[in-house]
């Protein structure tokens, strides 16, 4: 092919594969579903699928929250602690108020607490220009401490109606499926908003975004608040499975959410990725756990195998996207 002199040829698109970075997550999903189905013969039974979904949902929620923060060039290492805090707030408030109204008040209180924690993180990072990693690590310790203050030991329970609803169905549609549908709908809707574009902009080139006139600080606070809110929703989903208060519930979710975001094709440096990818990433991590469980691996080796699989999955993604388009 020749190019007319004077007109610069369009360069090959380096980002093409990354542009479809969620495709990699889809690919991983397919492989893991296949492996899972081989190991677990009844994997495709609706009951099993739904029970899997109900255990995957919390991480999906938290990963979506983490994803918005990461897209904006930040990170939140306190999401796990927020999950713990919300978990105990909901249980304690619900028990104190009592009955179904208590559950409702508890849920509202939990969601508000989650969003507030996120907003504080965002404000510290954006207004005082603190580093996100260190700041949210510090606040995670504080938030974890608050959770222990609210409920020093695991205990307390929500009325059975709560987890019966979560595990049940609404108008014949399984509740967890409705929640997943709502999550996907919300994520797709947000992807088309100015907020989302502006978040990608501050993640891609913060200085440029500022020069352009975007409200950088406000966007950062908003994204952290949104992450806190998503962590709180994740905590509500966890309660739908466990139904009990546990101040150490959330710990594993912090790095789990970061892994899910990266597996979903987002760049940790910011400016690149999608929340749909984060949902897939959450499912991938859940499936990896399933595979390990059904592969009859000795307990003491499980976490090593899990780590190696996650590493391989990440490497696969990076390897494929590095190939020249």
């Amino acid at each position: 092919m020749t190019t007319a002199p004077g007109s610069a040829p369009t360069p090959p698109r380096r980002f093409d594969l990354r542009r479809n970075s969620t495709l990699l997550a889809v690919g991983l999903m397919v492989v893991l579903v296949a492996v899972n189905a081989l190991l677990q013969s009844n994997f495709f039974r609706p009951g099993i699928l739904l029970s899997n979904l109900s255990t995957f949902l919390p991480l999906m929620m938290i990963a979506v929250g983490q994803c918005y923060v990461v897209l904006g060039g930040s990170i939140d290492l306190s999401l796990g602690a927020i999950v713990s805090l919300v978990n105990v707030i909901v249980v304690v408030v619900a028990e104190t108020v009592g009955g179904i109204p208590g559950v409702a008040v508890g849920m509202v209180a939990g969601l508000a607490a989650g969003a507030a924690c996120g907003a504080v993180n965002g404000a510290l990072i954006a207004l005082f220009r603190l580093q996100a990693v260190v700041t949210t690590f510090a606040t995670s310790i504080i938030i974890g401490g608050l959770a222990l203050m609210v409920l020093p030991q695991a205990g307390g329970a929500l009325p059975a109606a709560y987890y019966l609803t979560y595990g049940g169905a609404l108008l014949g549609v399984p509740f967890v499926l409705i929640v997943l549908g709502a999550l996907i709908g919300a994520v797709v809707w947000i992807a088309g908003t100015r907020f989302h574009t502006h978040l990608l902009a501050i993640g891609g080139n913060r200085q440029g975004a500022y020069q352009t006139g975007l409200p950088v600080a406000r966007l950062r606070v908003q994204s952290h608040a949104l992450a806190g809110l998503m962590a709180a929703i994740g905590a509500l989903c966890i309660l739908g499975v466990t139904g009990a208060g546990d101040p150490l519930m959330g710990q594993a979710f912090t790095l789990g959410s970061v892994s899910a975001v990266v597996l979903g094709g987002a760049a940790l440096a910011g400016g690149w990725g999608s929340a749909i990818g984060a949902i897939l990433g959450g499912a991938i991590l859940g499936l990896i756990n399933n595979v390990i469980f059904f592969a009859n691996i000795d307990y003491q080796y499980q976490s090593i195998v899990q780590g190696v699989i996650i590493l391989l999955a990440l490497a696969a993604g990076i390897f494929v996207s590095r190939k020249p388009g």
Binding site: R14, F15, G192, T193, T197, G204, N205, A209, T212, L214
Partner: protein
């Protein structure tokens, strides 16, 4: 009386102890192209940022159409009718061309970005600028575009809000000739629509081609404003450097000291047997057309490019470095004009950037920051470096000052031989003169310099002797009476066929 689109009066802006703009005034008539000229780091960009609302002034006021502006930020200024096309790009590499152009002002529909309208809007804008935006794909990611295309997107972004005043901060430096022509056509069309334009460029011929008036700044201060029809290149250069420039003295000397470095038949890479000798204190120039082996010669001596044949002796002993680290320890330093790629540790403090070579040469494990800073004081002074603090990142400096830091790094190691690879690329007249004055000073202390420059005049002004390269060989050695522009030019073209 002329009608002013924009007037800035008594603007002062400090960064810490550094006064970037000092009591500067500037006015812009409606529909004029007003060039802003000055050496790197003279405060042009800072003044522009103040006028465009990206920085606040410590004192002074800016009037837009006679009204004092109090912009709450860059977007406010853009909405108020002032757009800036920045030199350092304000684009988001991970967003598409159209998303970048509309950033902050996306058309909305039902709470979401209306992508169809966005596309149509972008196409309309591209059509309105003529040839400049030809072949640009609105959906392409900006990070995938070459620099010239990115600059064009930056221009489109500024035009998107239909500003009444536009600041072009070195917008032409990354464009090629035909793109510059298309850009000038656009500027003339904007003028016709009574848009007022501030134009910053280092290319004098562009200023004479497009500007109506020119204002010269020096050291953060206003120097003078001239109508372009009533001035000439010499006067502007004189205003920039602050005083009439002396007729270049032929500084070429004939040195009779014994050579400190003997190079015999150096071969490797593009080099095909280069033989010469270097005396202490000498400035040996490398001339010829671009890319005839001059850089290879310097890199081979610095151990950064493979050598397959020939001998080199340094102070009577065989010299055969295989790595730059070895060359540094033998007393050679190398400075490239390509500071972004080859030189600076971006984001690291000035002090670290300065002391890198010294640390490499001296060895040792622990470096005492305070002792280092004290040791660098003399160098900083000799370089006439303009900076806030040594602990500030090198990225906070202007291009010319960054280059001085890179040179200072080489000097800190007190080299016996200094290798300079087009060291003045992209820096201004003033910084160049400082740099060459420093080279002569070094020569007096016995340091020999091998200098490649892509500007013939720099070689003629500063070298004692010039080797003219062609196809990896030295085709002529010019010294004494033969060191003239004519001889240099003819030798370079001699056997180019």
């Amino acid at each position: 009386m002329a009608e002013f689109a924009l007037r800035a009066a008594g603007i002062t802006r400090r960064f810490g102890p550094l006064v970037a703009v000092d009591d500067c005034s500037f006015d812009l008539e409606r529909g004029e192209v007003h060039a802003l000229l000055g050496s790197n780091g003279c405060g042009k960009s800072t003044l522009c940022k103040v006028m465009a609302g990206a920085l606040t002034a410590d004192s002074g006021e800016v009037r837009l159409d006679g009204v004092v502006t109090a912009f709450r930020g860059p977007l406010d200024a853009r909405r108020g009718g002032i757009a800036t096309v920045y030199q350092e790009m304000s684009l988001i590499p991970t967003l598409s061309v159209m998303e970048n152009i509309a950033l902050g002002n996306e058309p909305r529909r039902g709470g979401r970005v209306d992508r169809a309208a966005l596309r149509a809007q972008t196409r309309g804008l591209m059509a309105s600028v003529g040839a400049l935006a030809q072949g640009l794909d609105p959906a392409a990611l900006v990070g995938d575009l070459p620099v010239d295309r990115q600059q064009i997107v930056e221009i489109l972004k500024a035009l998107a809000l239909q500003p009444r005043v536009i600041l072009f901060d070195e917008s032409t430096s990354s464009l090629d000739r035909s793109q510059v022509d298309a850009f000038f056509a656009l500027v003339r069309r904007l003028k016709g629509q009574a848009v007022s334009i501030i134009f910053i460029s280092h290319r004098m011929e562009e200023i004479f081609a497009i500007a109506d008036r020119v204002t010269v700044m020096q050291n953060g201060r206003y120097v003078a404003t001239r109508r372009i029809a009533e001035t000439d290149r010499d006067e502007l250069v004189a205003l920039m450097v602050g005083g009439r420039r002396d007729k270049a003295v032929t500084g070429a000397r004939v040195l009779d000291a014994a050579p400190m470095m003997q190079i015999g038949g150096l071969t490797g890479g593009r080099l095909k047997g280069v033989t010469t000798a270097l005396r202490p204190g000498e400035i040996l120039g490398l001339g010829g057309l671009h890319g005839q082996g001059q850089s290879d010669f310097l890199l081979a001596l610095f151990g950064a490019s493979p050598v397959t044949g020939g001998t080199v002796t340094l102070a009577g002993r065989p010299y055969r470095p295989t790595t730059p680290f070895a060359a540094l320890r033998m007393g050679l330093s190398y400075v490239s004009g390509d500071r972004g790629r080859a030189g600076s540790l971006h984001g690291r403090p000035i002090l670290e950037n300065l002391s890198l070579a010294l640390l490499a040469r001296r060895g040792g494990i622990v470096a005492n920051r305070r002792a280092l800073a004290a040791g660098m004081g003399g160098i900083v002074e000799r370089l006439k470096l303009k900076f806030g603090k040594l602990s500030h990142a090198i990225g906070t400096l202007s291009g010319g000052n960054q280059q001085k830091v890179i040179l200072g790094r080489a000097l800190a190691a007190t080299p016996r031989v200094l290798l300079l690879d087009d060291p003045t690329k992209g820096i201004d007249v003033r910084a160049k003169e400082d740099l060459y004055a420093l080279l002569r000073e070094l020569g007096a202390q016995g340091t020999a310099v091998i200098l490649y420059s892509s500007e013939d005049q720099e070689l003629l002004d500063n070298a004692d002797r010039v080797l003219v390269f062609n196809g990896g060989q030295v085709v002529a050695e010019l010294a004494g009476e033969r060191l003239t522009e004519y001889d240099l030019y003819s030798a370079a073209l001699q056997s180019a066929a």
